[in-house]
Subunit: 371 residues, 2 copies
Amino acid sequence: MLMKHVVMNCRLPLLSCANNCMLLASSSVFRRQKFFIRSLGGSIDYHKTGKMQSVEVDAENIIRIITPALDQSRHKGQAGKIAVIGGCREYTGAPYFAAISALKIGADLSHVFCTKDAAPVIKSYSPELIVHPVLEESYSVREEDKKIIASKVLGEVDKWLERFDCLVVGPGLGRDPFLLDCVSEIIRHARKSNIPIVIDGDGLFLVTNHLELVSGYALAVLTPNVNEYKRLVQKVLSSEVNNDDATQQVLSLAKQIGGVTILRKGKSDLISDGDTVKSVSIYGSPRRCGGQGDILSGSVAVFLSWARQHIEAADLDSNPAVIGSIAGSAMMRKAASLAFSNKKRSTVTGDIIECLGKSLEDICPAGSCSL
Amino acid sequence: MLMKHVVMNCRLPLLSCANNCMLLASSSVFRRQKFFIRSLGGSIDYHKTGKMQSVEVDAENIIRIITPALDQSRHKGQAGKIAVIGGCREYTGAPYFAAISALKIGADLSHVFCTKDAAPVIKSYSPELIVHPVLEESYSVREEDKKIIASKVLGEVDKWLERFDCLVVGPGLGRDPFLLDCVSEIIRHARKSNIPIVIDGDGLFLVTNHLELVSGYALAVLTPNVNEYKRLVQKVLSSEVNNDDATQQVLSLAKQIGGVTILRKGKSDLISDGDTVKSVSIYGSPRRCGGQGDILSGSVAVFLSWARQHIEAADLDSNPAVIGSIAGSAMMRKAASLAFSNKKRSTVTGDIIECLGKSLEDICPAGSCSL
């Protein structure tokens, strides 16, 4: 199921209806749809050299459109339930950053599925997260027990899977082969249930070597940094990174993996699902402290969930993975910029997370956003 | 022992006493009693459709009346000793939120009884709490040891039980069958000792399946959210939730469980002990991040203790479970509203806890409250 990201048909409620409310609602839907299309910009542009150029989107408008209204009658979970698959003996910061970012942007619940060693540490960072100590690494599993343990791990995750609006796979996952086998199975199950998946960090290491895990899955977003992108390009396109024709290359890459969305992080973030290429260049920070990619993955997860809700409610024909990537990228860049203006060279990832709330409020005040 | 929540008789000290101080004290008690009754509003109202309607109470006045005076001569413990039964390998945030909220509202001591895995993590959130690693889950207990271990767990809790003014059972308890069996026994012991019990989260899962644990116990408060309420209604009334006649339904539910108090959380909180239905609609926030229910349970526990002290001291004939629920609900809603006005969409549970102190101070300044 590959969704197109351009609004092809505006299936409006009957405009001939005499009811004023309906008419008003319809025109409001229509206006919002037009606004949505305008914010996304046109199709791919071409430079006078003939090279393909990405289209800079109005990312702040997109955030305003997809961020759900806050309403006293809503209940827990309706603003999003996110799960991060990551965290092992070695890495605990990354899954925390991704999961807490999701909450601070406005998700209602944020879970982490990690190894038994990592869990108490991640829990201790914040009581706000629900941390499940279910993953296992090879060092704690005997060869003959692997099958049973793998099935137990999967059972533990499966109990929860259907509840989530989006998974983030990879922050602090590590590269233990047994653990990665289990995570491959989790990805397969999530895909069967049509749960969107944002893949970053060691999750990208996994899928670069097992492209079939995500190939053709329109609800997958890969968020590679410079090195991860290089490995993906080498593996998928059997070539080197071409910065002179970056737009064409990211488009080919996304198309080659069957229409997954690629969010290539850089000075400008490039986003493609193989059909078009959008860029987000607003804000940003020159500080490159580790952990910012984790914020981005949590941010994309929340906005992807909201974009999906919005697209379904407004009956649009857009790709929520692209819309979520655009919004997630802009949110991260704005928060990084705010944090840098306060903390300069000493900015660390936690400072950026603390700026997520104000960044969203600046773009889309809590009292004014609407579905 | 089903206590009535409407003041039936104002057993005042002898007004004929010539002593001026006594007279003054008596008229002050009398005034306070009148004030108390007025704050609680009348009985159940009926809408013109004939449907029962809850009575909106003056919750802030109730808070002012029951919050004990602060006095240099009082000693540790007199403002309340609360214990939370909850916290397991999977959940550690919820019991922390409930226990720290009790302290931040003004209880003197806040304990947590949790599993051995959960204890170090909960301890790490705050040195303010007393955390007992005494509960056990099935995975750490051999079948043949279960009886001995259960009796040991109960012994550990029993050592403390009589000291507490209120228990909160359920935040982050999990659903392990062996653990829930032990907790059932703890509830039975607490009930024998007339210790009030607030039941939330997985505690509600337990009592919904074992109604006899709370049935007929007037000092029990159940605090269900949307889904927990649905399960309770299905189990107890063998019907579905009826939002058109919510007042009648919560009244029937509370009556059917023998006069326990139900605090149904929602846009307006509905509170019933089977005799009348009160509502609290002031303040509140549209943010639905997980953990707010835990604050509420800790808040109700403190106010229930204070209401009980007040009712005994003033010789009133009110139901402390209803009074505590009203005050706890209003306190939570005010803190959530304050936090939201600061943090908007990025509000998390910890932000609300940080607003408990100011919320209580706004309603009832520390220098002015009196018993």
